[in-house]
Amino acid sequence: MIQISDDIIIKTLARVLVPFIQLYALYVIMHGHHSPGGGFQGGVILGASLVLLVITHGLKGTQKRISEKSVAIFSSLGVLIYAGIGVLCLVLLGNFLDYSKLAILLSVPLAQARSLGILGVEIGVGLAVMAVMFSIFYNIATGGKQSEEDNN
């Protein structure tokens, strides 16, 4: 479906731009608590960088870097991080996602434990959103056929 473009301008531009986009996405995830953004928005920007890679370098070139298997693993890992932090707070006799209970584990003050807990949850959300965004785009681009040989 998506052929490799032989336009050198677009390819070079994307190759230069993608690392900066991903760095910006990490900034959005990390600074989610005192600027607009957060896990979901950062994950969408990360997914957009992968979509840009697919558009400019083709599906095969992108799959060498991030395969569909690792996308599935990333999406599960993100949900695991989110739910894991929540259940960890349950185990430490708090409510679900009650970050203040994490202070005992991390041996930090209460407020800092809340901040770190929110950061961990947002990293999980970002990973899951990136993987699911890319997975949806991948399935639409291949027409749901799941194997790239059919499309070239």
Binding site: Q3, V28, V51
Partner: protein, 89 residues
């Protein structure tokens, strides 16, 4: 100074409406894609002006950077789709 930015922002909103005519009725796909990019650029500036009006420009810079990024990717995707179709228009 706030009034100045407000007036500039309202003027840009009117310009967006003018460009929107080209998106809806424009002959051909290329006019529509170009007009969409123009609307994206104007929206970016309007976001920054809103930041100046609310005195929180450091927040709105983040939003406008994301907006510019997604606009760029959208334009490339649209042109890629045209390339896939094989025929112009």
């Amino acid at each position: 100074m706030d009034t100045f930015f407000l007036v500039i922002g309202m003027g840009l909103c009117i310009l967006v409406l003018l460009v929107l005519y080209r998106v809806v009725y424009g002959p051909g796909v290329f006019n529509r894609v170009a007009a969409l990019s123009a609307i994206g650029n104007k929206t970016l500036i309007i976001l920054l002006i809103m930041g100046f009006v609310y005195h929180r420009v450091e927040m709105f810079i983040d939003i406008s950077m994301v907006y510019a990024l997604l606009n760029f990717i959208g334009t490339i995707a649209a042109s890629k789709y045209l390339e896939m179709e094989g025929s112009i228009l």
